[in-house]
Structures are given as C-alpha cells and as structure tokens.
Amino acid sequence: MNELQTKILDLLKEDARLSSATIATMLGAEEAEVSSAIEEMERDHVIVKYAAVVNWSKVDEDKVTALIEVECSPERGHGFESIAERIYLYPEVKSVYLMSGAYDLCVEIDGKNLKEVASFVSNKLSTIESVISTKTFFILKKYKQDGIIFEEFEDDHRLLISP
C-alpha cells in the first residue's frame, strides 16, 4: 500500500462518490494515476464495496440487530475458520469477528423482530456442533457507526461571515 493509495482510501471512506478527477485535484496527483490506484485496490479487494451507511432507525421497517458472543471449540487443522464460515454464510449474519478474551466469535445479526433472532440463535447457531454456548445482546440504539455519529445536531454553528 503506497502513500497515494492510503490517501485515496482516507477520502473514499468519507465519501465514496468522489470522482477520480476530484480526488486527483485534491491530492495534487494525476487523474490516470488515481484511477489506476483505485482499480488496483478494487482488484485486490482492498476496496471491497461502495455502500451507503444507513441510519435504519429512520426507515419505517421493523428491524432488530443483535450481537452474539459465541463460545466454541476449535477444530483440529482448521481452528475457527470452518465454524466461522458455517456461521457467516447465513444471509442474516452481518458480521463475524474472531475475538480475544472470554469468548471466541462475535456475530452480528439482523432480524425483523426478537423472535426471528431468537429462533436463529436456537435453531441454527446453537445447533452447530462445535458451538458450546451463546449470549445474545440486542442493540437498542445506535449512536455512532463506522465513525459516523447518527444523532442529529446542527454541526455548523459558525457566523455566515466573519473577518
């Protein structure tokens, strides 16, 4: 990862819709250079996807999110990889992280309601052979996600004109 690529990522992570031309101007680089750096990062899956950060609480749709601590026994030769894969292939699973500390996998899942999440945990997650135990925590409110604060506040308090 070179310096230009890092700077491009810093800009795209704030606004993925910036054009290569704009990024090139902002960084004092050539447009072709920026385009090829972006293409390279897309090819190498450094940039995986360009997606909107959505504040779902503003969308009139029932939705709950839960974080589940999963304790499991690793498999010989595979460690946690194949268990993680068995879990992340479920479409309702949004993210899976291997953790240090008191449990092994942290699983984030979306469901329409508590019942749906509960049913996923009891019917699918807990029944996986190497899963020893689960603890489910429902998210009540998101204040900040991916560095973006959801609370609405006037963020520019400046006078319109000042010396």
Binding site: L11, T22, M26, L160, I161
Partner: protein, 405 residues
Amino acid sequence: MIKDVEQQQGIRSQRSGMNDYLASAARSIPPSGIRRFFDLVSASKDSSIISLGVGEPDFVTPWRYRDAAVYSLEKGKTQYTSNAGMPELREAIAHYLHDRFQLTYDPAHEMLVTVGGSEAIDLALRALVEPGDEVLVPEPTYLPYSPISTLSGGVPVGIETFAKDQFKLTADNLRAAITPRSKVLILCYPSNPTGAIMTYEDLLPIAKVVEENDLIVISDEIYAELTYESRHVSFASLPGMRDRTIVVSGFSKAFAMTGWRMGYACGHPDLIAAMLKIHQYTVMCAPIMGQVAALEAMTNGMEDMYRMIESYNQRRRLVVQGFRDIGLPCHEPQGAFYAFPCIESTGLSSEEFASRLLLESKVAAVPGYVFGRGGEGFIRCSYATSVAQLMEALERIGNFLNKLR
C-alpha cells in the same frame, strides 16, 4: 463661581446627541465593511446559502482539547491565572515555537498569553504607537490593524500589494511608503485574505529595509501552521530581527479554537513588559479554561492539527482548480484557508459581484474592497467548508458567471 456653572452648562448645551460624547478617535474609525456584508447575508435568512465568507475553521475544536477543559472545570479550575498566562502553558508554547519555527523565547520574560491574537495586536500597537506615528500596513489585509492604530493616535499607511507579486510585500513598495514618522510595520503572512506567504528569500530584503529605517515589526503569524508548499518562516527568525519583532500568534486557526480566544505574543522583554502592564489593567489574564485546552493542544494535540491541515490542503487544490476551470484567474494561495480569485473580467465591482452572487446564486463571499487597497477586483472565498459544499458553490459561481457573460 456662577460664571463657572454657566460655562459648564454652556458646554453641555453644545452637545446635541450622544455621538457628541464620543472620543474623536472612536468616532473616526470606520465601521467594518465586513459587518455590512454580514448584515446583508443574515438579513436574507435563506438556508440554501452556502457561505464561503467564514474566517474560521469548519472543524469543531478536537475532542481531546475540549475534554481537557471540561475535566479542569470539573476539578474546579476556575480562578485567575498569572497575568502572563499559566507558566506551564508558556513553557509549552516556547517548546512548540522552537520545534516548529526555530524561535527561542524565554517563557518567563518574553511571552504573554492573550485573549486571542486580537488582544496581542491591540496590546502591541498600544505599547508602540504614539500620536503621529505611522503604522505601515500591507494591504489587502485583515481589518483591525489600521483602526487600532488610529485609536492610539497613530496614522495607518496602507501599502498596496499586487496579484502579479502573489500579494507579497516587496522591499520597493515598502521603501516607497516610508517617511520620517514611520515606526511600525505590520506583517500578516500567511495572509488573510489573499493566502499569500513570504518565504525566507522574500523576507530578507524586507528585513534590510526594516533595519535601515529602524522600524519595529508586529508579525501576525496566526496562520503559520497553514502553509502548504513550504514551511512558514517567522520574521523573527531572520538575522537581526528577533528583537525588532513582536510575534503574534494563537490557537484559533491551526488548532480550531476560535471561540476560546487564546493567543499569545512573544518579543523583547521590554516590549512584552509594557504589553503585560496594559494586559494587567484591561483583562488580567486569558480565561483559564482556554489556557487548559491550549496546553492540551500544545502537549498532545499535534496529530489533530496535522490532520486538519492536510484536509485544508486538499480543499485548497480543489477550489483553486475550480476557479480556474470556471474562468476566474486565481493566484495560488500557499497559506491560510482563503482563495482570492480575480473577478475583474466580469466588469462588476467586488461589492456588486458579491451582492449579486449572494442574491442570485446563494453563495456568500466577501468583496475584496473591504480588505483595503488592492482588494478591489477580488473576492475572498474561504475553503474551510465541506467538499460537497465547495463543489456546489463552485458550480453556482460558474452558472452565475455564465449568466453574466
């Protein structure tokens, strides 16, 4: 006795309105031109206006500095500090100035923490200027230098600088303005409103003229950290200039701390002592919560500052390119966070241009004439605004120009 009373009444009856009570110096200074434009913008109450007229960072003070101030309030730090400012803050500023700008000041005798850079400018001018003294002010420039000189009975002398010189002060222009009454030269580089900087090579001939004419320099270096192509050179770091220079700076711009009003002045102990006397009688000390936040900025806040500077630089490139793309010549601003494009090709005065741009295209920019000589024909556009807003503003200005053509 009776005659005395009659005389007094006579004097009173000559005063027909409250203005007659005002000191002539206060009466004579003009109201700020920027204020008039501010009233025009605020009167419109239109939320679709994009303002490029703001002379302050769009960043909120980094949380780290705010947190330090909040914590100190919780701990009950609400007292006066020493007049010159908290000793540990002065120590920290001294280290900072040495690390960043190769300036060496004794924090005990050569430094004073002030209520914003503005107070430091006021103190310096009051400490130096006597009735009739001429104060040389390169223009276009930040507004207060001339009015404050006038309040001290001084005579401000504007020195026009030009786009062809990238708005730098040249030794020839300076020399041409000097008279036997010249005493103080103000330098404000990186410049508000032009974004001009002065390099070591640019400053060297100025230092020569300063020496030859026995001038004293107030160098307002509030934008020192905001230079993009080269590091800022402090005028005080030039050979022989340290004791002839009062360096004024502060936390407002680089550390995004405008509302805290934290500034400082450094210079020869005799000058600082005189400024300190005035400071003692007028404000006692800068507010302690601001000093605590500033100390945090000095000791742990550099990374936050670098991040903000990098972001200004990106937006600077975007805006300069943007103006050139829509056909407004724009000299490359190498410092501060302003672009100063030339609008002469439209045939409008800067005031007409700015007013019509505001009313017809909902973009606020400050007309150049308010910044003094050489400002007419330009508008000041701050790029301390989000990329999305800047791009929208540039598009609106482009459409406005097309309508004029």
